[in-house]
Symmetry: C2
Subunit: 286 residues, 2 copies
């Protein structure tokens, strides 16, 4: 649990009767100054992992009730049912006595059996060091961008100030400090990316996120695919796949999110930046 | 709420403090004698709809803790948070004092805004009366098949005793008694179909199911798409889309399920039936 940011920042201290305390940090903040939803969900998963009679989360579903902020948090966990092969638990994270996220999860012992049917392939990407990197130092980038290293074939359209109209992307991803992802980190991984609906010129806030944990990730870069297919009535879904360095699907998630107008100041910042730097904005080869 | 089976069988009677009672019937049983999971989730949704300060469920997530059986059930609902535009609630359905399903949901007021981005098309199917129907009277068919009318271009491979190896299908669907689907029925609709993994020669039991309710369905047949893409480590996901007669995506769901060996007696019954009837088994044009 040493020095990595994720381990440090999602640490939970056990109290009595399934209660834990955590100290959320601002290092995983999104663009609106609240902590990232996946970070909240991963912190809940970590508390549940200490309480459940099986070691591996296989599915966790979180409802986002209000924005989480850097600062103290309490997590109340309960065992809903401990079955023969599967245990179910609930975690309620509160700040200042107000509920921020309610998560329900199933835990089991993930088998090492391989994939027996595969109806989709991992993203087909050039090696990470041949991709471009989104730099956290660019104007308008959220703090979480300092903690996660994203590599793409080319810069996203929204980042260049020219949304492509195609809310889908494939990219490499890993923690910036080199920590390899494990099952406990995956609920954060699936929500750490800039949302693909930025390519439609809108922003978003998550209402609900379900993560399936399908296998323990091998060390190394994660190949990811984020896709939104349906936007309407003020909501959209986002699907996310995480493939490990061995080509195994390790997580699959879906969220329902509320469409928000994109912050004008962010777009302006991007445009100003692009005009100033002449198109190389944010790119840095390895 | 007159005479339709769904309304009758998912009826909940209010008690005090957000408690409801229901009388689950065996008319929605699956092949293993337990009630269908979507039926349980729809019953919980209906109880929540009576308790929440907004009219429309937009997302509901249910964890299946143990099989539900025909008979009396109690549903304890609670308001987790009533916000300005979204309310969150929880429903816990118990039978004989034991928890069967725990569901969490968000309610809002669905706008009538149309789809603003569409990254997939509805299933391209011939009209229902040019499709074949899966008959509930065939040996091995579960009781729920009496309540739901499925129409396909051709009979599924598993039904003919010859699984195709392709766990994906598109089909028409409606309640057999002509009741049109509404938001409250959609959590049942997304789980009523024979699971596509039958085409891999295995069966399945749901651990967790998340349903996004995206629009109020227009009356008429529903065009559906059920797909499993990843089977491994003893689990699989199933994605489900429901499109209404106006071509609008009205629900999208995903479940995580445990792979089970297909009941030998069911396969034998299909094979015997097929040998006896010479390939027309289960087919009936409108």
């Amino acid at each position: 649990m040493g020095d990595y940011a994720f381990d440090e920042d999602s640490r939970v201290e056990p109290g009595v009767d399934g209660e834990y305390t955590a100290k959320l940090t601002g290092r995983w903040n999104g663009t609106r100054g609240a902590v990232n939803g996946g970070y909240l969900l991963a912190t809940c998963t970590r508390a549940l992992a200490l309480s459940m009679p099986f070691p591996d989360p296989i599915v966790i579903s979180g409802f986002f009730l209000r924005p989480g902020m850097a600062g103290a948090a309490a997590i109340r966990t309960s065992l809903i049912r401990g079955g023969r092969t599967t245990a179910f638990g609930e975690a309620v994270l509160t700040q200042d006595g107000k509920e921020v996220i309610r998560a329900t999860a199933a835990f089991a012992r993930l088998s090492q059996d391989g994939q027996v049917f595969l109806g989709a392939a991992p993203p087909d990407l050039p090696p990470p060091d041949e991709c471009v990197r989104l730099l956290a130092s660019e104007p308008g980038m959220p703090r979480i961008a300092e903690r996660v290293d994203f590599r793409r074939v080319e810069l996203p359209g929204w980042f260049r100030g020219e949304p492509t109209g195609q809310p889908s992307s494939e990219f490499w991803m890993r923690f910036a400090d080199g920590r390899d992802a494990d099952l406990l980190a995956l609920p954060l991984v699936v929500d750490a990316n800039p949302p693909p609906v930025l390519e439609l010129g809108v922003s978003t806030t998550t209402i609900q996120l379900t993560v399936h944990l399908r296998a323990k990730p091998a060390p190394g870069w994660l190949a990811c695919r984020a896709t939104t297919r349906f936007v309407g009535g003020g909501y959209h879904e986002e699907d996310f796949e995480v493939w490990d360095s061995a080509g195994i699907l390790v997580a699959q998630s879906r969220q329902l999110a509320l469409v928000l107008p994109l912050l004008i100041r962010v777009l302006r910042a991007f445009r100003a930046c692009r005009a100033f730097r002449g198109g190389n904005t944010g790119v840095q080869a390895d």
